[in-house]
Symmetry: C2
Subunit: 264 residues, 2 copies
């Protein structure tokens, strides 16, 4: 199945399709999964057995569900770079200082992923938790990151993910985005004015290590609170200070890896 030169394994993809199905619909029965993926039940069964054998799927009565082993892998991914962990305290501080939601976002495969999320006292509870994947063009963090990438890489990402309009304010034009990124580069700070979610503004600054961008610190909150001078000066200043300190930590860090391998 597939083009002549498909250097990729179908079976693995299928297995992960099964995992994705479980992720999307939660605990499900075999036939439900088979239906959804349009696969023979015998095949689905085999995939589920395999995943179960590996502890990536478990059963709850007659339902299959995600295995908790993924938690371990998720943490491993989130700590794959020791620098990520150093950002946590800064995110926490930003959340406290601003009272809003603060995040640390990293780019992977052209998407932004929330590696740390902390909510300040006034922050709205929302489902934007750790692991969430977002488009880069519509978020402050994403723009802070893209602004530090060479044009060609930005193009690759746009080609892959497009510029979908998430709200009426989302930038959907390539040229317009280039201009915006240019502005971010000059300012050193990226803004998001209801471009990602209606009624939510955001500010972000890049975090650099050696030459290149490690990720971005971001603060987000209701547009009626994050506005005016506070939005354009005070919060950005806090964030620049945080990013600065962070960059020092990260660049001259003692990479003391406190790994733990017990039962795998």
């Amino acid at each position: 199945m597939g083009e002549p030169n498909d250097e990729t394994i179908q079976t693995t993809k299928t297995s992960l399709e099964v995992v994705h199905t479980l992720q999307e619909i939660g605990p499900a029965r075999l036939s439900e999964i088979a239906d959804r993926l349009d696969m023979a039940e015998s095949t689905t069964h085999r995939h589920l057995q395999t995943l179960r054998d590996l502890r990536y799927v478990s059963r709850d009565g007659d339902r299959y569900q995600l295995g908790l082993r993924f938690t371990r892998l998720g943490r491993a991914a989130r700590t794959r770079d020791p620098a990520y962990e150093m950002t946590q305290s800064h995110v926490q501080e930003l959340a406290e200082e601003t009272g809003e939601r603060a995040q640390f976002v990293v780019e992977d495969h052209g998407l932004g992923i929330y590696v740390h999320v902390e909510t300040g006292s006034r922050a709205v509870r929302a489902g934007f938790g750790v692991g969430r994947q977002i488009h880069l063009h519509s978020s402050s963090a994403g723009k802070a990151i893209l602004a530090n990438y060479p044009r060609e890489r930005v193009d690759e990402i746009i080609d892959r993910w497009g510029l979908p309009a998430l709200t009426d304010h989302t930038i959907t034009d390539r040229e317009e985005l280039y201009d915006e990124l240019e502005a971010v580069r000059e300012r050193g700070v990226a803004f998001n004015r209801k471009e990602h979610v209606d009624g939510i503004n955001g500010t972000a600054v890049p975090v650099r290590r050696d030459g290149d961008v490690l990720g971005a610190l971001a603060v987000a909150g209701p547009s009626h609170r994050l506005t005016g001078d506070q939005f354009e000066q005070e919060v950005p200043d806090m964030m620049l200070a945080a990013a600065n300190e962070l960059e020092l930590n990260v660049t001259y860090a003692t990479p003391e890896s406190a790994d733990d391998h017990i039962v795998e």
Copy 2:
């Protein structure tokens, strides 16, 4: 490869072997991974391409590493049951009240997995983070869970994972463990006296929903602090109160699932 009636898929296992390798040794080059798994480079390459295509692996220069997409799956697993999320605040409270490390542990495939971990003010920093997998026989949480399982299930778990001695105090005898579990059942509280890690004690209580065990709340700390009456009365009482409240929440919960599906 494999027994005559092996109802499981080799290719998928191999792909996940690659993932595990990355998890263990961090960013690595192709040849390193191929060597370690004793696979042809072409094969390894194909697996890595596939995983990369799925965003479960990414490259950092000439190294391969875990993709951040696992973070999302990890979170999905950790929140697969809405009840897990309700435990978080209780874990937090226990950590604050006791000053020690508090956890919520769930059994999956015969192992205990830390679903929530919070550290109190006095708690020792250690690498026992979320996602950590532990043997059930040597931890307070594990014993609290096993005590509520039928004998045959306990046997299955022992058969699969054995009773390895993690310290000099670990229970390694099957009969002795049965007795201990009996005591836990009567008391309603499980103790761990340096059985898992030298110098660390723990207390745990089961959390039930309807008939069966959802998981266990546990508190752990240095054995010189967690001792005497405080260890055997005060902390257990706090935990029983917490578990009780929790069980009410969990049993009569409003399962308002605030899921988010954006870019997958």
